[in-house]
């Protein structure tokens, strides 16, 4: 009897104890997130994120005195008093995060039979790395993006990064030439819809951006000229008239899915006005420059009259006469309420146009780069046009992007006014720089700030909110996140003073 019970017990026990198989644990595959990725999809996501990352452009617009803020909100201390530390303006993390996506594309495109996406990814990578150098100087580059392969990447000298980016773009062009987009894959390219030639033009224009930025660095001319000539020698050339670099995944009218600029400063998907639209306002400095050349066309396109957009989409509440356009003194912290000043204009935000594309780089900028190259190096560079022709095309392209008025552009170019009319401008570089600065309003704040640091022109004022003895910031701090996780390498860069530690190309 007793024995029977024990036997029974042992039978049940052994059945239970041995019943477990390995398969029972085999449930550990994440059902919520993709465990693998296709490079082309990653490319699309990363391009969209690059275009949607508008903070650097916003800060650039403020720090190049194109925009300031209305006083409906408290004006930001960090932006206008120049009081900030390594926890402010952390663009680093986002940029490296995006770069990692492009690196993933570059690394996996071949093995996953999507070689056509390598070239575009390299172009994007070069563009972002340049931006990193432009605000941080020395950055992790050769040892960066290695995941677990290198957890504390060393920093590379900024100039070396710059030089390598030209090589990256060379490789990109080679890749692009060799691998056309296959049929059906064009949709993944939300920039040029699979037109390889356009990517090569973009790559060449980016080269110009990188090269001209170094124009004041001593001893660089020969290198710059040689590289420009290489780019000029390509069949595709540079961004042509009408060919801006823009991104559009097919924005839809749904929260979080509209054009990010429209969403931030314009309207919510529901059509409601966004409160943040009360922030950015033109500076009186900008208006003064526009008015100096009677450039009321762009003034009225880049901004709305005070009171903002009216019942008719794309036009102001108030009559579109210059007196109704109200700018704010740069950095003024009181007295300029949003209601009484001019918000961002129809060139950027029109109610209902939630699906307009985001501008990544303008054709106008490319022409101004060519104009400067020709002006600086003359016959040494094998660019077909003259400085004047490039300059005038740049101005026309800027007018086109702001609202297609070639007559107004012609009027400006023949106005006989300094800094507008090439012939009437005694200092050609100043004219190029001024018109480029204007062309970057609303479409390239980051670039405007970088170019100001290089050229010191136009001579932008200090923010009114800043202390009397304050200096203009010339760069950003290495972010606290990098400092706390890659401290040794950050420390090796020495003490950073954002008001005096200059980027290598910022020589005067």
């Amino acid at each position: 009897m007793k024995f029977k019970h024990i036997l029974l017990a042992l039978t049940i026990a052994s059945a239970a104890l041995t019943g477990c198989k390995k398969q029972w644990l085999d449930i550990n595959t994440n059902p919520n997130q993709l465990p693998v990725a296709v490079p082309s999809y990653v490319f699309t996501g990363a391009v969209n994120r690059t275009a949607g990352f508008i903070e650097p452009n916003e800060l650039g617009s403020y720090w190049s005195a194109q925009w300031t803020q209305s006083n409906t909100y408290i004006i930001s201390g960090s932006q206008f008093q120049y009081i900030f530390n390594n926890t402010n303006f952390n663009y680093w993390d986002t940029w490296y995060d995006i770069l990692n996506d492009f690196q993933f594309v570059i690394d996996n495109a071949d093995s996953l039979q999507q070689p056509y996406i390598k070239g575009p990814a390299r172009v994007m990578k070069a563009m972002i790395f340049q931006q990193l150098v432009d605000v941080y100087g020395n950055i992790p580059y050769t040892q960066a993006l290695k995941a677990i392969g290198n957890l504390s990447p060393k920093f590379d000298p900024q100039q070396a990064v710059y030089e390598d980016l030209i090589k990256v773009l060379d490789t990109a062009i080679t890749d692009l030439r060799a691998n056309a987009f296959v049929s059906g894959s064009q949709a993944t390219d939300i920039v040029f819809k699979g037109v390889v030639a356009s990517w090569i033009k973009f790559a060449n224009s980016l080269k110009m951006r990188i090269l001209i930025r170094q124009s004041k660095v001593a001893g660089k001319s020969a290198y710059i000229i040689a590289e420009i000539n290489k780019a000029a020698a390509t069949a595709e050339g540079f961004l042509t008239a009408g060919l801006d670099v823009t991104s559009n995944p097919g924005y839809v009218s749904s929260t979080g899915k509209t054009n990010p600029i429209y969403d931030r400063w314009g309207y919510a998907a529901s059509g409601a006005t966004q409160a943040l639209g009360r922030y950015p306002r033109p500076t009186t400095f900008l208006f003064d420059k526009l008015k100096a050349t009677n450039d009321t066309f762009r003034l009225k396109r880049l901004f709305y009259p005070s009171g903002g957009e009216g019942p008719t989409a794309g036009t102001g509440t108030k009559a579109e006469v210059v007196s109704n356009y109200v700018a704010v003194p740069y950095g003024a912290s009181s007295g300029y309420l949003s209601q009484n000043t001019s918000p961002l204009g129809p060139a950027l935000i029109v109610r209902g146009q939630f699906n307009s594309s985001v501008v990544v780089m303008t054709a106008a900028e490319s022409f101004f780069l060519l104009a400067e190259a020709k002006q600086l190096y003359g016959g040494s560079v094998t660019l077909a046009g003259t400085a004047q022709s490039y300059y005038e095309q740049g101005v026309r392209e800027s007018f086109r992007l702001s609202g297609t008025a070639s007559l107004a552009a012609t009027a400006l170019l023949t106005s006989g006014i300094d800094l507008a009319d090439w012939a009437a401008s005694p200092n050609k570089l100043n004219a190029i720089w001024m018109q480029k600065w204007l062309a970057l309003v609303n479409f390239g704040g980051f670039e405007a700030w970088a170019e100001f640091r290089r050229t010191n022109y136009p001579v932008i004022p200090k923010s009114a909110a800043a202390a009397t003895n304050a200096k203009l910031p010339l760069r950003l701090f290495y972010p606290q996140t990098e400092e706390s996780s890659n401290g040794v390498n950050v420390k090796e860069q020495g003490a950073i003073d954002v008001f005096s530690t200059k980027i290598f190309w910022d020589v005067d």
């Binding site: 049940i12 994440n30 993709l34 993933f104 290198n150 957890l151 899915k257």
Partner: protein, 1053 residues
């Protein structure tokens, strides 16, 4: 006929008397006698003589401090002279330990505390977790937020894991609950709880596998007791009030920085003139000029041409009046009973709570049924509970909204936003923060749980010494949630017509209109289902071999947890007040989340005793977990062993010579265990590629590479624990002392390390860290007075715990684990963790003076954040007292925690709004205790540089950003509970035939809270998360509350 007669005699109550003596025949003074399962009782006199009314069939329970309990059935005689056996050890109560194993205290080689139902229900908290605060050494219950759905975090002996789970395992009737969730605890009816065993260390919880590494709360619910059915009804009604608010200023009204800025043309040098310029009728900030009692408009011109005119002076008491008085009513009915072979327990509960946040309410309605039966060798039982809970709360940050309202606004009069024209969102005075009462109504969340929990237990006695046991437990919780924001369309006048008072129309002749945005309305609907199945099979054997006794078991455990969330949402609705995603414009939002986790374990446990004096105990477990499983992984990466051993020496019995009147009993114990914790998130081995933000756009797909990088060789972390302790009884068994010292070392710690973004990833999950954790605990319980009518018991607890980060990973000395960019909690090498870091002042190291800018007097701030202290208390003390005088009893429990700091984001917000009392000095002044660089790099005391604009800029742009200002010592003393109860005498009750027992009690919880004088902000227990990031609070936690109420308990005959 005979049956009839029997029942007659059974029902008859008569006096039973006798004398209570010890084994030697010496009378025991003031011993007590009780009738089992009733509250009828009596005390013996100094000679041990007693008398009590009882009937045949009753069982008398005799007890006296220091003696074993003796039970004697009432037979036909009317005299019982019991002889109580002197207790050799501690009170031989049975303690439930891991996996339901029952042990006597003398057998235990590790620290276990037992909390009984009486201790839990003394403060009548409807939540179990709160009622455990301060009652056990080593246990810290953090009341992270108080609301009608309170959040708690339960931690035993501090943190071990830098980024993983540190929460104590909660086991309800043998079923381990998912870590870190308050839901299951909030659904429990505290009255249903028989006892809670607190297994403080990993040693005690080895048998629970990796979940037990942080210690465990083993909750046992009530079973029926044999005997006649007892029906108990209880009602508790309590009210809840805000106990303290932050320090508010009452000197300045609405205003912001409107005066001409420093350095600009027209700048006014008189700060009073600037303050006048700063005043605005529509501001949320409170930087206007000083209150002067004059009649001023608030807000804008109303459509009817009037202004909301208010006296410009603070409305007294308004800051408090906006909070409600909460009311909670709890009704309980329970029935318990059984016969010789079966028992049952049935309870019903309804708990209704109205919170301090207006309109917040919750309800919990539950039923529990437990039954056991015996049939020969088989013993079977089940326990089922079904609870429905519903919560109706606002989703928006009411607290933050109210600090953005000036002190002269009679906010509580603006509740009726539908009919009061000044309260209507269309005309509400504040341009930036709308009427909080409107938001309360408009932004709601309704969610509720339908919770089914149960287990079936089978016991089969194979032989006298051999038992088969199986317990199957399940949990099924369905939570249904709907969050809504009402649609609201502003009037055209509100949008474009409402002008500010003429004096402030910016002199452009048009006046200004504010930008109000219509609310599109939104709806979010979600269903969450959680399913847990757990089965424990055990072969239990107990056998004595001569002087040796053995108790052993081997077991097998299977655990499966599934969770699924499906959600749909829309950010815009068409027809107002119809909250269904079908009634929307735009795309349908939503998502889905599924997790499944499985674990199996084999375990064994063996206790060997020698002469009931020395016990050696060992346990071991071998687990496999799905979290670390991949078909491609080596077996030893997902399976792992644990083991532990401990000894218990009952010293005074081994060496009777050391026994004296002073030392009555002593036991020493020691134990070591090696535990393992599978401390990674579910699916933590997988790299993920999430959709890019906004994707898909139609057919356009966009993916990004996830930022978290799991190391390829991830494995569970290891925790080695060692503890020694002693238990003693002193001074004629009047004082119990329990002391434990422990140390724990975690190696191979899983760390989610912040790695440089330049690697392409932001976080790396790997086994590399090492931490230490150590401390000691002391519990003292004493019988100060014991006499016939008066008993006084005191208890005190003290625990000290510290931890240290030995290694994070090479090259990394710290990382942020939680919080804000300007203040957060950090893990720092060679320090305790977590620690609070915040932006600090720059100080002269020689004098500690604050360095200010010589040109404008503003304080400078440190670039990198400064370490300001530990986030967890290292000292926790509890103090309890229990007084009994005849039928009246009074008890109280205090708790102290200290040694840590807390950062309050509320303080920062209140500095921005200018509502904080600390912003009151707005006259030009020198920054207190400051110095400046005299231009040569030397710091000189600042006696002459006034702050440039102390009426605004100092506070908003400087003081606010120096978050050190809002990081304060977090120590507190709380009167956790206080209970004064009265038991109605039997004499009185005998007049009411159907009542057997009745008591009434007045009680309170957190009646008293003392905090540091620098803490102007918040209850230091609060935190914005129930994760590891304690020590950071914000406006999402409402002010702390005190509760008091009345409780009535009736047992029916």
């Amino acid at each position: 006929m005979l049956v009839c007669l029997c029942s007659l005699t059974f029902g008859q109550t008569r006096a039973i008397s006798g004398q209570i003596k010890d084994e030697a025949g010496v009378p025991i003074a003031y011993a007590t006698v009780k009738i089992r399962n009733s509250s009828t009782g009596a005390s013996a006199d100094a000679e041990g003589k007693y008398s009590i009314n009882a009937k045949s069939g009753d069982v008398l329970v005799f007890s006296a401090i220091g003696y074993n309990i003796l039970e004697a059935p009432v037979g036909s005689t009317s005299s019982i002279d019991p002889s109580l056996k002197k207790m050799e050890g501690l009170i031989d109560e049975v303690i439930v330990t891991a996996q339901g194993i029952k042990r006597r205290p003398r057998e235990l080689g590790y620290s276990v505390a037992r909390i009984t139902n009486d201790d839990i229900t003394v403060g009548r908290s409807p939540q179990l977790a709160q009622s455990l605060s301060g009652k056990v050494s080593g246990l810290a219950v953090f009341n992270v937020n108080n609301s009608v759905d309170p959040a708690v975090k339960i931690v035993l002996r501090g943190y071990r894991s830098m980024t993983g789970n540190n929460d104590a395992l909660v086991v309800i009737d043998g079923l381990p609950m998912p870590p870190g969730s308050s839901t299951m605890l909030n659904l429990l009816n505290p009255n249903d709880i028989e006892s809670v065993s607190v297994l403080k260390g990993g040693q005690a919880a080895t048998l629970y596998g990796s979940d037990g590494v942080n210690g465990a709360l083993v909750i046992t619910t009530k079973r029926g007791t044999k005997g006649k059915a007892r029906v108990t009804y209880s009602n508790a009604t309590n009210i809840e009030q805000v106990s303290f608010l932050p320090d508010y200023q009452d000197q300045f009204g609405s205003g912001s920085h409107y005066a001409v800025g420093f350095g600009a043309a027209g700048y006014k040098t008189d700060y009073l003139a600037r303050m006048k310029d700063n005043w605005r009728s529509y501001e949320n900030q409170q930087f206007g000029d000083r209150f002067d009692g004059s009649l001023r408009p608030a807000g804008r011109l109303l459509q009817d041409g009037t202004y909301y005119e208010l006296p410009y002076s603070a409305v007294e008491g308004e800051r408090r009046r906006i909070w409600n008085t909460g009311v909670t009513t709890n009704n309980q009915l329970s029935v318990s009973g059984g016969n010789e072979t079966s028992t049952f327990y049935l309870s019903l509960e309804n708990n209704l709570a109205n919170g301090v946040v207006p309109e917040d309410k919750s309800r919990r309605t539950g039923v529990r049924l437990a039954a056991t039966t015996e049939a020969g060798r088989l013993k079977a039982g089940f326990n089922l509970a079904y609870v429905q809970a519903s919560y109706d709360r606002t989703t928006f940050d009411f607290y933050n909204e109210t600090i953005n309202q000036a002190a002269h606004i009679p906010l509580s009069k603006l509740r009726d936003w539908k009919t009061n024209k000044f309260a209507s969102p269309d005309a509400y005075y504040n341009d930036y923060f709308t009427n909080p009462y409107f938001r309360l109504d408009n932004d709601r969340q309704n969610y509720g749980d339908a919770n089914f929990q149960g287990n079936v237990e089978l016991n089969y006695k194979v032989a006298e010494w051999l038992n088969l046991y199986n317990k199957l437990g399940i949990v099924n919780n369905t939570r249904i949630r709907k969050n809504t924001v009402g649609k609201y369309t502003y009037t055209p006048y509100a949008k474009t017509g409402a002008k500010v008072p003429p004096a402030y129309d910016q002199a452009d002749g048009s006046g200004i209109t504010r930008t109000v945005t219509d609310l599109a309305g939104s709806v979010y609907d979600a269903t969450e289902v959680e399913n847990i199945v757990n089965n424990e099979f055990q072969i239990q054997a107990n056998k004595d071999f001569g002087d040796f006794s053995t108790k052993g078991l081997v077991g097998f455990s299977l655990y499966d947890r599934r969770y699924k969330l499906v959600e749909v949402s829309s950010g815009s609705i068409v027809v107002p007040d119809i909250f269904n995603v079908a009634n929307r414009t735009g795309e349908l939002g939503g998502g889905e989340q599924i997790t499944q986790y499985r674990k199996y374990g084999y375990y064994g446990d063996l206790l060997v005793g020698w002469k009931d004096l020395i016990f050696i105990h060992g346990s071991a477990r071998f687990d496999g977990t799905s979290k670390f499983y991949k078909p491609s992984r080596e077996r030893d990466l997902y399976t792992y062993p644990y083991y532990g051993a401990d000894v218990s020496f009952n010293v005074t019995e081994i060496l009777p010579a050391i026994k004296s009147n002073i030392l009555n009993y002593a036991k020493v114990r020691a134990g070591y265990s090696k535990n393992v914790a599978d401390n990674i998130p579910i699916y933590g081995l997988d790299r993920i590629y999430p959709n890019g933000a906004g994707f898909p756009y139609g057919n356009t797909v966009g993916i990004s590479v996830g930022d978290l990088l799991p190391a390829p060789d991830l494995r569970p972390e290891k925790v080695g624990s060692f503890e020694v302790g002693t238990e003693m009884q002193l001074l004629n068994n009047r004082i119990n002392v329990d002391f434990t010292w422990y140390t724990q070392k975690t190696t191979d710690a899983v760390v989610t390390a912040r790695i440089p973004n330049s690697t392409g990833f932001s976080n790396l999950l790997l086994n590399v860290g090492e931490t230490k954790n150590w401390g000691y605990e002391l519990d003292i319980r004493g019988q100060v007075i014991r006499s016939e009518n008066f008993n006084w018991e005191l208890s005190a607890r003290y625990s000290y715990n510290d931890n240290k980060v030995i290694e994070i990973f090479p090259g990394v000395n710290e990382f942020q684990s939680s919080g804000y960019s300007y203040a957060g909690s950090y893990v720092i090498k060679d320090n305790s963790f977590p620690r609070i870091k915040a932006i600090g002042y720059v100080r002269d190291p020689a004098t500690n003076r604050v360095i200010v800018n010589k040109s404008n007097g503003y304080p400078l701030s440190s670039g990198p954040l400064k370490d300001l202290g530990r986030a967890l208390p290292n000292k926790i003390a509890g103090w309890g007292t229990k007084l009994n005088y005849k039928s009246i009893s009074l008890s109280a429990n205090f708790e102290y925690r200290g040694g840590h700091v807390i950062y309050s984001d509320l303080g920062r917000q209140m500095t921005f709004t200018g509502s904080g009392g600390w912003t009151e000095d707005r006259t030009p002044h020198i920054f207190p205790n400051s110095a400046y660089d005299d231009g040569t790099g030397k710091f000189v005391p600042n006696n002459d540089v006034n702050i440039q604009e102390a009426e605004y800029t100092l506070w908003v742009d400087y003081y606010r950003n120096i978050t050190e200002n809002f990081t304060v010592p977090a120590w507190f003393i709380k009167l956790r509970d206080l209970n004064l109860s009265y038991n109605f005498s039997q004499k009185f009750l005998s007049k009411v035939k159907f009542i057997g027992d009745a008591s009434v009690a007045l009680y309170g919880r957190n009646l008293l809270t003392i905090v540091d004088s620098q803490n102007d902000f918040v209850d230091p227990e609060f935190s914005f998360t129930t994760g590891n990031g304690l020590g950071i609070s914000n406006t999402a936690q409402t002010p702390p509350v005190r509760q008091y109420g009345i409780n009535l308990n009736v047992t029916f005959k």
